[in-house]
């Protein structure tokens, strides 16, 4: 219990495989069958699996009961929509003021992260086993038009607050949650702040100051590794 459980089989410069995490992924695949969609392992670090949203509770129950992952880390979500507001760090000038830029952004494809995914919203759950010192990230694609997921309260009592936050920040309906109220936001708040199309108001009002004045670091004009200095307006 005091040594890391990740079992790295280093094969020279070739692929590093993580036998323990492979086994866990396989256990999920066996249990969930068709609902098990994808997996990703960063060897020695972490395991991601993607399941169908209908198997959310089943996956969590399986992890808790059979894999010993009794510790609830967090439940959250990711919004994969690229930010439609153009005032980003790489802007050479403020797009809203000077034009250009954001039009390209509209065409930017929405990509998902590790373990794949097709939808805009993905639910993210992390469970951890204190005995084995190993955890798993479980992702699930949610319906774009009406994102919804089952509640995990029957499995982990501590899911209450995490799901309330998910609901208020992303607008994801938690099916079966007994007490869906706002957690952080004032009562009667309209909108879901963590959605990408919810603007960060301060940025609408005032652009990133970095566009205005980025000075060269004193005496450090060389960039190590020869990285291009993109997105920096040198006055």
């Amino acid at each position: 219990m005091s040594t890391t459980a990740a079992d790295d089989t280093v094969v020279e410069e070739a692929e590093v495989t993580d036998a323990v995490r492979e086994a866990i992924a396989k256990a999920f695949a066996d249990e969930l069958g068709d609902a098990f969609l994808d997996q990703h392992i960063t060897p020695g670090r972490d395991l991601w699996i993607r399941v169908d949203a209908t198997a959310w509770v089943q996956a969590a129950t399986f992890a808790r009961d059979k894999l010993g992952m009794t510790w609830l880390d967090y439940i959250s979500a990711i919004d994969w929509l690229p930010n439609p507001y153009g005032r980003e760090m790489d802007a050479e000038q403020d797009w809203v003021v000077h034009g250009g830029g954001p039009n390209d952004k509209d065409a930017e494809e929405m990509t998902s992260g590790v373990a794949g995914g097709h939808t805009r919203f993905q639910a993210l759950l992390r469970l951890y086993s204190i005995e084995e010192q190993i955890g798993v990230h479980i992702k699930a694609d949610l319906d774009d038009s009406a994102p919804a997921i089952d509640t995990l309260i029957p499995v982990f009592a501590g899911a209450t607050w995490h799901e309330r936050e998910m609901w208020e920040m992303f607008g994801i309906n938690i099916i079966g949650h007994p007490d869906l109220r706002v957690l952080y936001l004032p009562t009667g708040f309209e909108g879901n702040p963590l959605r990408k199309d919810y603007p960060l108001v301060s940025r609408r009002v005032k652009p990133w100051p970095g566009i205005v004045d980025v000075e060269a670091m004193p005496g450090a004009d060389d960039d190590a590794d020869g990285e291009a200095t993109d997105g920096e307006a040198n006055e």
Partner: protein, 397 residues
């Protein structure tokens, strides 16, 4: 006044009307008294809650029927803000989540970014990081040790805590430039090397912290009233704690032997040190206080070991001036002073992160409070919340 209540009701009879009105008023009072308990708002402006926390307690006399914390008075929207900040800017921002042990907030994020960039900080930087991390822990828990006594009424302990904390904060300041918000981590190492004479002074301040811990052991832990108020109050069974995601001393106070410093594979220097993890089987408020007291002492020994074995070398790896973290997702969790804090960083290869999910310890720690506060007496609310030890910035982000 004698009213024959059996007499025929006569609307013009003033006496009868007065009598009926009195009966009605009486009945209203009785109905009101039948309601379930009194709702008491504790906070958000309150002299002794840890910041702007509001607890809505429904009481039946002195007994709590239900108590629910209402948060969000300090919600600053960190997860949204990180989407428009470069990685070094995010470091400055996240300092302020747990503002008492603030160096510790930066570390998991920096480690996650370094993992995606496949950059390793040099050993000297890792040692310095670990030393400052532990000093942040010491500063944080010293506050707790004094504060829990204050919540229970023993006002003197917190002055000693603040006085002795100054030694640690002075050391943090002389190394990083900031007492509370060091902002010292950089992707690839730390910003600067240590100033001259820092090691010696830090070791002497560690001795002062140990003296303080002995004093607290005498003044607070040994105090019969403190024990009477804390023992058996707010017992959290280990399985309930795990279902709620409790971490840190809250979990170790329930007997679960888990410490991310020892158990997780971290590039920081903990595995080079000789130290032990403290647990207590009881799971009540006293055991959480006791575990934190021992942890503070243990942290001082760790800092001394780190400073003794400080390797020479650079404090910063070669990283480009403009940090663009390659695409990927990574999650790093460390044993912060308040518990297990983790950052889930989603990067799309740009200057700014795409999504950062900040998993804070106090959020999960506090999620157990509605369950825990049912059926206790009103003074126990203060004891239990003090022993769970949250920082509002950590709950509200």
């Amino acid at each position: 006044m004698t009213t024959d209540i059996n007499a025929e009701f006569d609307i013009t009879n003033n006496e009868q009307l007065r009598y009926i009105a009195a009966q009605a008023a009486d009945a209203r009072v009785n109905v009101e008294l039948e309601t379930e308990g009194m709702t008491l708002n504790i906070g958000p402006q309150h002299p002794a809650t840890h910041g702007t926390l509001r607890i809505v307690a429904r009481l039946d006399g002195e007994q709590v029927i239900s108590a629910e914390p209402i948060m969000g008075y300090m919600h600053r929207g960190y997860e949204k803000l990180t989407e428009v900040r470069t990685y070094p800017q995010v470091t400055t921002l996240i300092n302020r989540i747990d503002w008492v042990g603030s160096f510790a907030n930066e570390v998991p994020f920096i480690l996650a970014a370094e993992e995606l960039m496949e950059v390793e900080a040099p050993p000297r930087a890792q040692y310095i990081r670990t030393a400052l991390f532990e000093m942040g822990r010491i500063a944080n828990i010293m506050l707790f040790l004094g504060d829990m006594a204050v919540q229970l009424g023993g006002v003197t302990a917190i002055f000693y805590a603040f006085r002795d904390r100054e030694f640690v904060l002075n050391q943090i300041e002389s190394a990083t430039g900031g007492r509370f918000h060091p902002n010292f981590n950089r992707i690839g190492g730390v910003k600067d090397d240590l100033p001259a004479g820092w090691i010696k002074e830090t070791k002497s301040s560690m001795q002062k912290v140990r003296d303080f811990c002995d004093e607290m052991e005498d003044l607070v832990v040994g105090n019969e009233i403190f024990q009477a108020r804390c023992r058996g109050v707010g017992i959290i069974p280990a399985d309930v704690a795990m279902a709620y995601g409790l971490s840190g001393a809250n979990l170790r106070g329930s007997g679960v032997d888990w410490d991310l410093r020892r158990d997780a594979d971290s590039p920081l220097a903990w595995k080079d040190l000789d130290w032990k993890v403290w647990t207590h089987p009881d799971g009540d408020s006293f055991s959480r206080y006791w575990v934190r007291l021992q942890e503070t002492r243990e942290a001082t020994y760790m800092v001394e070991q780190l400073l003794d074995g400080l390797p020479a070398g650079p404090v910063m790896a070669k990283v480009p001036r403009i940090i663009k973290v390659p695409a990927g997702e990574s999650y790093v969790q460390t044993e912060n002073p308040l518990g297990a804090m983790g950052y889930y960083v989603v990067s799309k290869g740009e200057l700014t992160p795409f999504r950062v999910k900040i998993r804070t310890a106090s959020f999960s720690n506090m999620s157990i409070s509605p369950w825990l506060l049912e059926g206790v007496l009103v003074p126990d609310i203060a004891t239990i919340l003090a022993s769970l030890y949250f920082i509002l910035g950590d709950i509200d982000r």
